[in-house]
């Protein structure tokens, strides 16, 4: 009976200590590192300037989720002394590290006319416009469109960058699976017709 009373007393005292420790950690330490600081004001330097002539006619907007999970391996006796490993093993599906990122991006399809690689020929009653093949002009990704959804454990820059590069490739792959080239050509025809003022018949064709 005495043992049970002692146990209950200890339980109550330890619960109070645990609660106080958690509250101190939560309010004073945990939040401190996650409140983002402001970076210093440094100038930008222009590295190159290029004249281009790109007409984008289709914008594909998508969201890609990349999830990377590293689990604890092995089951040695020493692992029982690693409290974090025990917590991960029994309460966190044995997950040692996990990084999940959400990349929102845009894939722009259009025509690169920078090399003046288009041709306009005048016929008696017609105008012939020959344009290059449509292609992916831009894959618009940036940190403001990238969200670190969850980060558990330590992750290196290389690992994060590798996930972002794979997310970008997945965006392009998703866009290509929709076969947007024909839509890009159709929109370009419509755009050209709005810009061209002529009484002649306009015939627009694209390189194969």
């Amino acid at each position: 009976m005495n043992d049970l009373v002692r146990l209950l007393k200890n339980l109550v005292v330890l619960l109070i200590i645990g609660g106080v420790v958690y509250l101190i950690y939560h309010f004073f330490f945990k939040g401190g590192e996650e409140e983002y600081l402001k970076i210093d004001d440094t100038p930008i330097h222009v590295e190159s300037i290029r004249s281009i002539a790109e007409i984008s006619t289709v914008n594909y907007k998508d969201e890609v989720v990349m999830d990377s999970v590293v689990r604890w391996k092995g089951n040695s006796t020493w692992s029982w002394f690693d409290s974090q490993r025990m917590v991960d093993k029994y309460l966190n599906s044995n997950i040692k590290r996990r990084l999940t990122i959400i990349v929102r991006g845009e894939v722009r399809y259009g025509f690169d006319l920078s090399e003046s690689n288009f041709e306009i020929r005048q016929g008696k009653d017609s105008v012939f416009i020959q344009l290059p093949k449509p292609k992916v002009l831009d894959v618009v990704v940036s940190p403001s469109k990238t969200e670190i959804f969850q980060e558990q454990g330590k992750w290196t820059d290389g690992e994060r960058k590798s996930m972002e590069v794979r997310a970008k490739a997945k965006l392009v792959k998703n866009a290509k699976s929709l076969n947007l080239n024909s839509k890009t050509e159709k929109n370009m025809r419509r755009l050209m017709m709005q810009m061209i003022r002529t009484d002649k018949t306009v015939i627009i064709s694209f390189d194969k």
Binding site: G18, I52, I55, T57, N92, D138, V139
Partner: protein, 189 residues
């Protein structure tokens, strides 16, 4: 004593498990396809150094410093979708085009071109997490976008757009091509 040790370990486990929880990643399969008409005529590549010193609060032992570098590729041009019916007029062999004002058409910050040049953590401080680094890059992105207005990118884009359209309409058979730009509307912020 055994009970106390068991309870202490149990509570420690509970406390440490509260720190990091695993969430299931959201499923994302919603996409959007939009018809656009952007003529991009100028491309700038700019670099920026991201500098931050975190001395921490009074109770924090140690400090943290980070230096990162990033590059962004910015394109500017005109939105041809904004052309209205009366913006293109023809008089004999002369064509006059009134173009909308130039704007940034794309902003790309390649993950591959972002590097941590120096990272220093002393005392009992945590290393910089990827979430923090992403936030610093977001701040850099906003700073670059703001500073781009101080460069000549929009002016270059307008001049290059005019040159491209002059060449295009001359090939169409017009002898004189006049390209004008509408003035950008002032934003009330």
């Amino acid at each position: 004593m055994r009970y106390t040790l068991f309870i202490f370990l149990f509570i420690s486990g509970l406390i440490s498990s509260c720190g990091e929880e695993t969430k299931e990643p959201p499923k994302a399969d919603v996409y959007e396809i939009k018809n656009i008409g952007l003529l991009s005529t100028s491309e700038y590549t700019v670099g920026k150094i991201i500098k931050l010193t975190d001395d921490g609060e009074w109770y924090a032992v140690g400090d943290r410093k980070i230096l990162m570098s990033c590059k962004a590729k910015i394109k500017a041009g005109v939105d041809l979708k904004k052309l209205r019916e009366g913006d293109i007029t023809v008089s004999g062999n002369t064509i006059t085009i009134l173009l909308p004002p130039a704007e940034m058409t794309s902003f790309v910050m390649e993950p591959k071109l972002t590097h941590t040049e120096m990272e220093s953590v002393s005392g009992l401080r945590d290393r910089f997490s990827q979430s923090e680094k992403n936030n610093y890059m977001r701040q850099a992105e906003n700073a670059i976008k703001r500073d781009m207005n101080e460069t000549k990118i929009l002016k270059d884009a307008e001049n290059n757009a005019a040159m491209f359209l002059e060449d295009f309409y001359e090939q169409m058979g017009f002898e004189k091509v006049i390209v004008k730009h509408k003035k950008a509307e002032l934003k009330n912020e």
